[in-house]
C-alpha cells in the first residue's frame, strides 16, 4: 500500500510545513494555479483546471485494455518486417547470401546496407551507427538485414535463411582499455573527455575519504516493445505510426536515411507503452520505412522481448573513483572524481550523459573546489544512451556513499552533514553556475526525515512480509533493519547551449451543439508522464472552457522536443500556455467589440467574458460565431552556454532537488532485502496535477529500487546473458515499498506556472538511499549497484567506518 502525503497547497515560498498523511492514493489537490503573465485572467475556476488532480484522458482505456498501443497497429494490406541481427559483438562481415530468403514464398523484400538510399548512418548527436551493418558489426544485435513478408512467421524464417559469414574480430569490452586500444570505429573509441576544474584544485581538507564505485547496466524495461506501422504515401514519401519520445528527431533521421525531403516523411505517435529514455534513439524507424518504400505496401514491425533488449540503448555502466575533502566541522572543501562511462558500440547521447555526470558529480552541495575527470568511451558492449536520470544516477550513487563515509569519518550524523553543506539559492554548483531559481535542498531533506518511520516489526507478521518474500526462508529473529538517506540535484531541460524549444497550436471553436471547445495540437510524445492531462488542464484554466480535445501528436505541427530531461511540463506546457494566451487575447478583443468597451479590462470566466465595471457579459460561444480563434506558438527556455575547457559555464536552465530516506529489512545470512518504505521530499515548483506528480514519484522510486537491488543487464564478452523478463528482474508490486511523499512547492521563477519537472529525481536518489540503508543494516561496504544477494552474504565490511588509510589528518 502506498501512503501518500502531500505538502501544503499554498503558494508560500517555504514548503516544509508539517505533512499531512493521507491514505492511498488520496492526494489533496493544490489550489488551482492562476497562469501568470496577463492581468486579465479567469477569476472563477473551471472544472479540472490547473492544480487539480484531473483524470487522465487515456486513463480508463488503459485500465480497461481499450487503449491502442503501437503494437496494436494494423492495416489490412500490411506486411511484417523483421530484422536479422548480429550474433557477434565484434566481427567482420565476409559475405551475405540472401538468395534463399528472397526465394521463399511470401517473402516480399530482403534489404541490406546497399539498399539504403540516403545517409548510411544515424544517431542522436553523432551519426555513427549504420542503418544496416555493411562491413563490420560492433555489438550483439546490430542490424544486418531486414525482410518484409506476408506473415510474421515467414519473415522470421526468412531472416534465418539469410546466410552471413562472419569473421570474429578482437573484442573491446573493458571500457578502461578503450582509449588505448585500436579504434573499433572510424570515429575512434573516445566519445568525449570532459575535465572540470573549479576553485583551488590543490586545496586539501582535514579529513579525506575515498572510494571506488560501480553502477551496472540498467535497462528501461518498458512493457510495450518497439513497434511501428509504415505506409507509403501518394507523394512518394512515407507515413509512420510509431511509439517514440521525439517525433521530429525521428523524422529528420528517417528522411536523411531515405533521401527524402522532411515534408515527405510524416510521423504520428502510436500508443506508447513506456519509454524512460529507451525510445529517444532510432530503433526500427528507418527499417520499417525502408521496407514500406521498397515494397509499396504498409509494413508493420514488432520486436520480441529478447529483440527489444538488444534493440534499444541502456543506462551507461559507470566506474567512479572519488575523494572528498572536508574540514573538521564538515564543510566540504573539495571533491575529486574520475568517472568512466561505458557508451557501448555507438555514440547515442553519450556526450550529454557524460556532461551530466561531470556537472553533478558533487551532488546538491556547496563545494569550494572540484577536480573531476570524466570520459565516455566506445566498446563492443551494447550501446548506451538515455535513461531516466541521465548520467546523474551514476554519480549520485557515488557521491552519496561518499557523504556517508565522510559522516562516519567525522563522527557526524549523515543528515547533519548534508544539511550543513546543502546548496541554497545564490550558491554556485561546481560548474560555477549560480542557482538563480529555487533550491530547497534543506527543505527536501527535512521533509523526507519528517515522515514517521515504518512501524517496528511484529512477531505475528506473515512470513511473506520478510526479505525473500514467498520463499519463506527469512526468519524474523535474523532480520536486521536499516535506514539510509540520499539527496540529488538534476538539471531540467537540455543543457550546453541547446535550444530545445516546443511548439503548440490551440484552436478555439464551437461544436455543432453550440458548446465551445478547444483543440490542442502538440507533437509532445505522451509516454505515460501525463502531458495529455496537463495540456487539457492548462487550456481549461486559460480559456475558461471544459471541453478540450487533443489532436493526435504528429509532425503536422512544429517540434515539441523530446519527452525526456523532465522537460515537457515546462517546455510543451509553456507552449500550450503561450498559444492559449494568444487565443485568450483574441477572445477579449472580440468581447470588447461586442460589449462596445474598447478600453475596459475584461475578465474571462468559465464560459464567458465579463466587464467587471458594469457586470455586462458575453458568452464565449457567442464570441466564436465570428469563426474559430487559432494560435501557434513556440516556447523557448532561457538560453544556456557551453562548458569551457575547465568545465565551467552556465550550461543548465534549471535544477530540481529530491531527498529519499529508505528503510529496509535485511537477512544478512541470505543477503536478501525487503525495501519497506521510501520517504521523500521533492522540489516540484508547483504541483499542477498532484496525483500525476505522485505517480511520477512512485514510478521513479520503483525504478530506483530496481537498480538498487535487482536490475542489471549482464554482459559477458559483449553478449547479453539475460534478455528476458525471466532473467532481467524488475520489481513487482510486492517488491515496491510504501512511499510517503512531501511535495515542496516553491514556484520556480521563469517556469510556466512555477512548475519544475518531476520525472527524474525520484529515480536518482532512491537508489543510493536504499543501498545506504542496507549498509546500515549489515555494515557491508556495498560499493556497486545493483546489490546482489551474494554481495551482502559475502561482501566486505567497511563502508562505515571508512576503510583504514582513507582517513588522514590534513
Amino acid at each position: 500500500m502506498t501512503t501518500t502525503t502531500c505538502g501544503p497547497s499554498s503558494t508560500a515560498a517555504t514548503g516544509s510545513a508539517p505533512a499531512v498523511t493521507g491514505s492511498a492514493p488520496a492526494v489533496t489537490g493544490s489550489a488551482p494555479v492562476a497562469p501568470p503573465g496577463t492581468r486579465e485572467r479567469t477569476q472563477r475556476r473551471v472544472r479540472d483546471g490547473l492544480g487539480t488532480s484531473a483524470d487522465r484522458p487515456d486513463g480508463t482505456p488503459k485500465v480497461t485494455g481499450a487503449f491502442a498501443f503501437s503494437s496494436d497497429l494494423h492495416d489490412q494490406r500490411m506486411l511484417w518486417g523483421r530484422t536479422l541481427r548480429s550474433p557477434h559483438a565484434h566481427a567482420r562481415i565476409v559475405s551475405i547470401d540472401t538468395s534463399a530468403a528472397a526465394a521463399m514464398p511470401g517473402v516480399v523484400a530482403v534489404l541490406l546496407a546497399e539498399d539504403v538510399p540516403g545517409k548510411a548512418t544515424f544517431g542522436l548527436e553523432h551519426t555513427d551507427q549504420p542503418v544496416l551493418a555493411r562491413d563490420v558489426v560492433r555489438y550483439e544485435g546490430e542490424a544486418v538485414a531486414i525482410v518484409a513478408a506476408e506473415h510474421p512467421e515467414t519473415a522470421l524464417r526468412a531472416i534465418r535463411a539469410i546466410e552471413v559469414t562472419y569473421e570474429p574480430l578482437p573484442l573491446l569490452t573493458d571500457p578502461a582499455e578503450a582509449a588505448t586500444t585500436d579504434p573499433i570505429h572510424p570515429d575512434g573509441n573516445v566519445f568525449r573527455t570532459l575535465p572540470l576544474r573549479h576553485g583551488d584544485v590543490d586545496a586539501t581538507g582535514d579529513v579525506v575519504v575515498e572510494g571506488t564505485y560501480e553502477v551496472g547496466m540498467q535497462d528501461q524495461a518498458f512493457l510495450g516493445p518497439e513497434s511501428a506501422l509504415a505506409l507509403p504515401s501518394d507523394d512518394g514519401g512515407v507515413e509512420l505510426f510509431i511509439s517514440t519520445q521525439w517525433l521530429h528527431v525521428d523524422r529528420d533521421q528517417v528522411a536523411a536515411c531515405l533521401a527524402l525531403p522532411a515534408d515527405q516523411v510524416h510521423l504520428t505517435l502510436g500508443g506508447v507503452g513506456g519509454a524512460f529514455g529507451a525510445r529517444e534513439d532510432v530503433s526500427l524507424q528507418v527499417h520499417v520505412c525502408l521496407l514500406a518504400l521498397a515494397t509499396g505496401r504498409p509494413v508493420k514491425m514488432l520486436y520480441s522481448r529478447a529483440e527489444s533488449f538488444l534493440g534499444h540503448v541502456h543506462r551507461h555502466p559507470a566506474r567512479m573513483r572519488y575523494r572528498h575533502h572536508a574540514r573538521r566541522d564538515g564543510t566540504l572543501v573539495k571533491v575529486e572524481a574520475e568517472i568512466l562511462l561505458d557508451g557501448g558500440a555507438y555514440a547515442s547521447s553519450s556526450t550529454a550523459v557524460l556532461a551530466n555526470a561531470v556537472c553533478f558529480a558533487a551532488g546538491p552541495y556547496r563545494v569550494e573546489a572540484a577536480r573531476i575527470d570524466g570520459q565516455v568511451v566506445r566498446t563492443n558492449n551494447p550501446p548506451c544512451g538515455a535513461m531516466r536520470g541521465f548520467g546523474v544516477v551514476q554519480v549520485c550513487f557515488a557521491h552519496e556513499a561518499q557523504m556517508d563515509r565522510l559522516a562516519a569519518a567525522l563522527d557526524m550524523d549523515p543528515v547533519e552533514l548534508r544539511l550543513h553543506n546543502a546548496l541554497k539559492p545564490g550558491d554556485a554548483i561546481i560548474t560555477g553556475q549560480r542557482l538563480t531559481g529555487t533550491a530547497p535542498v534543506r527543505e527536501v531533506i527535512e521533509a523526507a526525515m519528517a515522515h514517521p518511520l515504518p512501524p517496528d516489526p511484529r512477531e505475528d507478521e506473515p512470513a511473506i512480509a520478510l526479505p525473500g518474500g514467498a520463499g519463506l526462508t527469512a526468519r524474523r529473529e535474523d532480520v536486521r533493519r536499516g535506514t539510509g538517506i540520499a539527496v540529488s540535484i538534476k538539471n531540467l531541460m537540455y543543457s550546453e547551449g541547446f535550444d530545445d524549444y516546443s511548439t503548440a497550436r490551440v484552436r478555439l471553436e464551437t461544436s455543432p451543439d453550440g458548446e465551445p471547445f478547444a483543440t490542442v495540437h502538440s507533437a509532445c510524445a505522451e509516454v505515460g508522464q501525463g502531458f495529455v492531462t496537463l495540456a487539457q488542464q492548462i487550456t481549461r484554466t486559460a480559456l475558461g472552457i471544459e471541453r478540450v480535445v487533443l489532436h493526435a501528436a504528429d509532425t503536422g505541427v512544429g517540434s515539441a522536443g523530446s519527452t525526456s530531461a523532465s522537460r515537457q511540463t515546462w517546455m510543451s506546457g509553456g507552449a500550450v500556455q503561450l498559444a492559449c494566451d494568444t487565443v485568450h487575447h483574441g477572445l477579449l478583443e472580440r468581447a470588447r467589440g461586442v460589449l462596445g468597451v474598447p478600453d475596459e479590462p475584461l475578465v474571462l470566466e468559465p464560459g464567458r467574458v465579463v466587464d467587471p465595471a458594469t457586470g455586462a457579459e458575453v458568452a464565449i460561444a457567442q464570441l466564436l460565431r465570428a469563426g474559430p480563434l487559432e494560435a501557434t506558438e513556440e516556447h523557448h527556455h532561457a538560453p544556456t552556454s557551453t562548458l569551457d575547457a575547465d568545465g565551467q559555464g552556465d550550461a543548465h536552465v534549471s535544477f530540481a532537488f529530491a531527498a529519499h530516506r529508505a528503510t529496509v529489512d535485511v537477512d544478512p545470512d541470505l543477503g536478501l532485502v525487503r525495501v519497506l518504505q521510501i520517504a521523500t521530499g521533492q522540489d516540484v515548483g508547483r504541483a499542477l496535477n498532484p496525483r500525476a506528480v505522485i505517480g511520477q514519484i512512485e514510478g521513479g522510486i520503483a525504478q530506483g529500487v530496481g537498480l538498487a537491488v535487482m536490475e542489471e543487464i549482464l554482459v559477458e564478452d559483449g553478449l547479453v546473458r539475460n534478455p528476458s523478463f525471466t532473467d532481467y528482474l524488475i520489481p513487482t508490486a510486492l517488491d515496491m515499498p510504501s512511499v510517503a511523499a512531501t511535495l515542496i512547492e516553491q514556484p520556480e521563477p521563469g517556469a510556466p506556472f512555477g512548475a519544475k519537472g518531476v520525472g527524474e529525481p525520484p529515480t536518482i536518489s532512491s537508489t543510493p538511499a536504499v543501498v545506504a540503508a542496507i549498509r546500515d543494516a549489515t555494515g557491508k561496504a556495498l560499493t556497486r549497484v545493483p546489490v546482489r544477494a551474494q554481495d551482502i552474504a559475502f561482501g566486505e565490511a567497511g563502508a562505515i567506518p571508512p576503510t583504514a588509510g582513507s582517513t588522514s589528518a590534513g
Partner: protein, 285 residues
Amino acid sequence: MSSVMDPTKVTYLRPTSVAEAVDALRTSDGARPIAGGTDLMVQVRLGRRRPDTVVDLSAVDGLAELSEERIGAGVTMRRLLASEHAAAAWPALVEAARLLGGRQIQAMATVGGNLCNASPAAESATPLLVHDATARIAGPDCVRAVPLEEFWSGPGQTVLGPGELLIAVTLPATAGRSAYRRIELRRSVDIAVVSAAARLEIVDGAVAQARVAIGAAAPTPRRVVAAEQVLEGVAVGPDLERAINQAAVLAGDACVPIDDTRATARYRTAMIPVLVSRALAACVP
C-alpha cells in the same frame, strides 16, 4: 536468434485416454506432450524445442485425479492449493505450489509438467522427494513405477522413453511435518536460486524418519541421504539442534551448483545449509 513453431506444420492431437495418448506420442519422433504449456510454449518461443506434434493431455481421462495417495500428472498448482488434504498431508508441496509463478501460472501449471520439464529448480520436485513419491509411467508396452529420485537424469532430462508419459505420482501415507524453503531474488514470480525441502517424523520424542532434498543445487533435484541419516534416531532438543546443523553441512557438501545470471555457485553452496537447517527447524514441533 529466436524461433517459433511453424504453425502450418505442427500437428495437434487431443487424446482422451492414456492409451491413445501413448499412441499419439508415437506418431512422430518430434512429438511432445503439452499440459499447461507454461514451460513448453516458452521453450518453443526461445527455439529450444521444436515439436512437430503436440499431444494435448488436458482431456486424458484420469490424469487430473487427486486423491489421498495419488497426484495425477495433470493436477494444477491451483488444485493443490485448494485441497485440504494436500495442505494437511504434504505441507511442503503446498508451500512450493503457492510460490510457483503467479496466480495465472498456478492455474495452468501442472505437477506433471513441472516434473517432466526436469528443471533442477522445479518447485514441486524436492517436496515430492521428501514425501517419498513414486513416478507412475505409462508407455507403449506397460506401466512402470520409478522412485522419484531416479526420475531425472540431468538438467531437462528424465528417464521417460519414447512414447512414455508420466501419469501420476503416488505417495505413501507419511507422518510428521514437512517444509519448503527457497531463495528468490524478487519477492514473487521468480525462479528459485536454491531450494530445499525437509520432513521429520517424530515418534516418542525422537526422529523416526528424516528426509532432506535440495533443488537448483545440482544437475537434478536430489535427496541428501547422508543428512537424513544423522537426523534419524536423534532426540528432540539440543541433540537435534546439533544434528540439524550437521545435516545442513552435509547438504552443503552434496551441492554441485553452477554459476548463472542469478547467483554464483559459491552463493548457492553457502545458502543450501541455511535453507536446509531452516526447513528442518520448521519441521520440529
